[in-house]
């Protein structure tokens, strides 16, 4: 899973792009339409992550009979 690239979120991209031009406040000034789209995408993403986390809690264990664990006899 470490090879999976990070999700490209509009909010992160806006922050990254605005970093070059931002002056003053920590967060950039962006048109309201962009803000609304980026917020919606971010909410959907975090909700999807939460839903996935919820599913993982109920994941049934998988038996792997061929896997050797050398430490086991110890």
């Amino acid at each position: 899973m470490s090879h999976i690239p990070p999700v490209e979120l509009q909010a992160v991209r806006l922050l990254h792009d605005a970093r070059l031009t931002v002056s003053g406040g920590w967060f950039p000034t962006v048109p309201p339409d962009c803000i609304a789209q980026a917020t919606q995408e971010l909410i959907t993403y975090t909700q999807a992550c939460a839903a996935l986390l919820d599913k993982l809690k109920y994941l049934a264990p998988i038996i792997i009979p061929t896997l050797e664990i050398p430490e086991w006899p110890l």
């Binding site: 992160v12 990254h16 309201p32 975090t46």
Partner: protein, 314 residues
């Protein structure tokens, strides 16, 4: 001098550092656009579900917008970052939600109880004749009167049940009529006798809560459902008022309506006598035949279609 320049550039360097790490970049984005997700459930550290009673009304407003109106939420969060006052943010949320809902909330405090249902149920015993804010009553009471009912609803159960059965028969007899005025008349009857099937039309707010029903929740599904219920209720009541106006302005229609009520009521009484209704048993246990048994007693005159309906038919 170089140290001062470093200090001035430190926010830029820090944000560049955060950008280079996906987790920090995500945290930065969430702090910017969705900070409510970091603080939600602050009142309960074992947070499982949002507790509408434990949070202050602005937190409730932001949570509701985050769940159902993300555009409004985005605007409210940016207002917070710009340092707007609580009242300005509240006003922004209320106006923003108002653009989406059939029945907009008047106050953020209302949001704790779920999406608002515009209850317009009519119960005779709760109608106050002296209520100056209740102008339709003057129009409604004469219609109730045709069924033998009066203000206060003090009539015996038997009279009320027969009136209800008569209304059901009339509505069933009207289902075959295509003239718009008869659709309006059916809507008037289902409103007066609370059997439309629409919660907002069939219940007063008090009756709804007394029945122990659960309120709707702030989910996209429930918001859409409540909007449909409210929209249908408003159309239903508008249609019912059209029927009342038609009854007042169309003597033939009024005559037929009155005659049908009388004929059907008599038919129901006759049926009960023939079946030997047992008066010793409670009225609610006696049972009534199906409304279809009596629909043949109701006869309606031909009524004109409106210009719109004539055009649609062609």
């Amino acid at each position: 001098m170089a140290a001062l320049a470093d200090l001035q550039n430190s926010p830029l360097l820090l944000s560049a550092l955060m950008d280079s790490d996906p987790r920090l970049a995500l945290a930065n984005a969430i702090a910017w656009l969705d900070p409510a997700t970091l603080t939600k459930g602050a009142a309960d550290p074992r947070y499982i579900e949002f507790d509408y009673d434990a949070e202050d009304h602005l937190a409730v407003g932001l949570h509701v917008c985050r769940e159902c109106f993300p555009t409004v939420y985005a605007g409210a969060i940016q207002l917070q970052w710009q340092g707007a006052g609580e009242r300005a943010i509240e006003r922004f949320i209320l106006e923003g939600m108002g653009a989406y809902l059939v029945v907009p909330p008047q106050d953020l405090e209302e949001l704790r109880y779920g999406p608002s249902v515009d209850f317009c149920g009519l119960y005779l015993h709760t109608l106050e004749p002296e209520d100056a804010d209740n102008p339709p009553l003057d129009q409604l009471l004469p219609v109730f009167g045709l069924f033998g009912l009066s203000a206060g609803g003090d009539e015996p159960d038997e009279v009320q049940s027969t009136a209800f059965m008569t209304a059901k028969v009339l509505v069933q007899s009207l289902t075959t009529r295509r003239e718009p005025v008869y659709g309006d008349l059916a809507n008037l009857l289902t409103w007066l006798f609370s059997f439309s099937g629409n919660t907002a039309i069939d219940y007063t707010e008090e009756a709804f809560w007394e029945n122990g029903y659960d309120s709707a929740e702030w989910t996209l599904h429930d918001v859409a459902l409540i909007d449909d219920i409210n929209r249908e209720a408003h159309e239903h009541v508008t249609s019912a008022f059209r029927a009342m106006n038609a009854l007042e302005s169309d003597p033939d229609l009024h005559r037929a309506f009155r005659r049908n009520i009388k004929t059907v009521t008599n038919a129901i009484h006759k049926y009960q006598q023939q079946k030997g209704t047992d008066n010793a048993r409670p009225h609610s246990q006696r049972g009534y035949p199906d409304a279809a048994t009596f629909t043949r007693y109701a006869r309606w005159p031909e009524r004109p279609y409106s210009a719109f309906h004539v055009r649609a038919a062609h």
